[in-house]
């Protein structure tokens, strides 16, 4: 189904929706891929700082032509800039920020999210090894973890499941899921379907979600024109 559905959000639209959840004053860590598209969509009246685990607090956008410094990169190894009031720390202190409760949110890509909040994003089941990087530390330490992904895999299979089948990154950490079909919160009561993409129905989302969704109060994802 996901291959044909024209109502699916684009990656940029998913990032734009996630950006609306970034609250004023937050410190946020962004995983590679879709999460790195978030900063451009954060409402202008909100002051959100970005933490890059390689010791950069206050990461800014890519440098203008000719203004790059070879020693200033993101965790994704792209050349970046620094915002006013940023700071440089060493790696152990940077992960102290991440594990120590000062990261308000981590926005991370995911292969699979379990209804209990388990996050799987570091290794595929058929891989013998993976590049874990800082994923496990950041996922385990952040106050909130937002998972960002397509709702289904390439074969249309559910990536939001009741029983974990992928290698675990961190237990019970995901608080919200942003996909190309929906926004889903993980609560003590279970998965709550908060919003669906325009043109999709609740039942269409449930059909490709391998865990029951609470659908008492479902809105529509606001998509910019």
């Amino acid at each position: 189904m996901s291959e044909q559905n024209t109502n699916l959000l684009t990656r940029l639209q998913i990032a734009a929706r996630a950006a609306q959840d970034m609250e004023d004053g937050w410190l946020v860590n962004l995983g590679i891929g879709m999460p790195t598209m978030i900063p451009a969509y954060i409402p202008k009246d909100r002051d959100v700082m970005f933490h890059s685990e390689n010791g950069l607090i206050g990461m800014g956008p890519q440098p203008a032509e000719g203004e790059a410094d070879q020693d200033l990169i993101s965790a994704g190894k792209e050349l970046v800039t620094m915002v006013s009031g940023g700071a440089i720390v060493h790696h152990a202190d940077s992960f102290a920020v991440a594990r120590g409760g000062r990261l308000d949110c981590a926005c991370l890509g995911a292969f699979q999210v379990v209804a209990n909040g388990d996050l799987c994003n570091w290794r595929l089941p058929n891989q013998k090894s993976g590049s874990v990087g800082g994923a496990m530390d950041i996922a385990a330490g952040s106050k909130r973890v937002f998972a960002m992904m397509t709702h289904t895999d390439r074969d249309g299979g559910a990536k939001i499941v009741s029983e974990r089948t992928f290698p675990l990154t961190a237990m019970g950490v995901v608080t919200r899921i942003f996909t190309d079909m929906a926004v889903i919160s993980i609560t003590a009561d279970g998965l709550v379907l908060d919003e669906v993409a325009p043109g999709l129905t609740k039942d269409e989302v449930q059909a490709v979600t391998d865990a029951p969704l609470i659908m008492d109060n479902v809105g529509e994802i606001a998509v910019a024109a």
Binding site: M49, G85, A96, R102
Partner: protein
């Protein structure tokens, strides 16, 4: 951008409640946030647990807080200095509890708390009274004491300069416990000698990134260890 400055001392410390655990910076008198402590004294809170290296000097700072009956328990490394006579009097009267922690272990327990760790293995105190009751773990053919992380509901710290985001630098040995305590509390309150504009602090020399600081109060320079009246 949010400015973390508290306009008044009460704004800075007012949310501290009875029974709170508070990390308080300082070693000897340098780095003790005396103004913030006076602010806590003025709140009249009771049954506080104070984590700090020394048991107070004369009648100011921690000594004043103890003397005014605000402190139920002190966790420190060096309680019995002659200048800590106020603490001794209340301790001898059974009015205050004491936990003695080796100084390096104390600073490391706080750092572990700040770094989101549960504890660590240390060679310090192995075989001594101060390891009694603590788990002994064998690793790499040696025995280690397992010490637990220590966090505060609040940290009261003293710094030299801040910018509006709470990025801090310190002054000489007034740095001491302050940077690790700033990391290890749910709400960190800094008193600073001076606040400067954004971009005035070089990001390379910031010791405590503002992400660890919830609010700050500007005191100006003052002579440390002077007795002050309740404000």
């Amino acid at each position: 951008m949010k400015n973390k400055k508290s306009a008044t001392l009460e704004d800075a410390v007012g949310r501290i409640q009875d029974g709170a655990t508070i990390l308080v910076g300082g070693f000897g008198q340098p780095g003790v946030p005396e103004v913030l402590i006076d602010g806590v004294c003025d709140l009249g809170r009771r049954n506080l647990t104070i984590v700090t290296n020394n048991a107070g000097t004369g009648h100011s700072g921690i000594a004043r807080l103890i003397e005014e009956g605000c402190v139920g328990k002190l966790i420190c490394s060096f309680p019995w200095a002659k200048e800590s006579f106020v603490f001794k009097e209340l301790y001898d009267a059974g009015k205050i509890d004491l936990e003695i922690v080796p100084q390096g272990t104390l600073s490391e327990r706080i750092r572990a708390g700040g770094a989101g760790l549960g504890g660590f293995l240390t060679p310090t105190a192995l075989g001594t009274d101060l390891a009694e009751g603590k788990p002994i773990i064998e690793s790499d053919g040696r025995e280690w004491v397992l010490e637990k992380a220590l966090r505060g509901d609040f940290a009261l710290i003293k710094a030299y300069k801040t910018d509006p985001r709470g990025n801090l630098i310190y002054h000489l040995t007034a740095r001491n416990f302050n940077p690790v305590m700033a990391m290890a509390a749910d709400f960190t309150i800094a008193e600073v000698q001076e606040d400067v504009a954004i971009d005035e602090l070089d990001p390379e020399v910031i010791v405590t990134p503002g992400v660890f600081v919830d609010t700050y109060f500007v005191t100006g320079w003052y002579e440390i260890g002077k007795e002050r009246k309740a404000s």
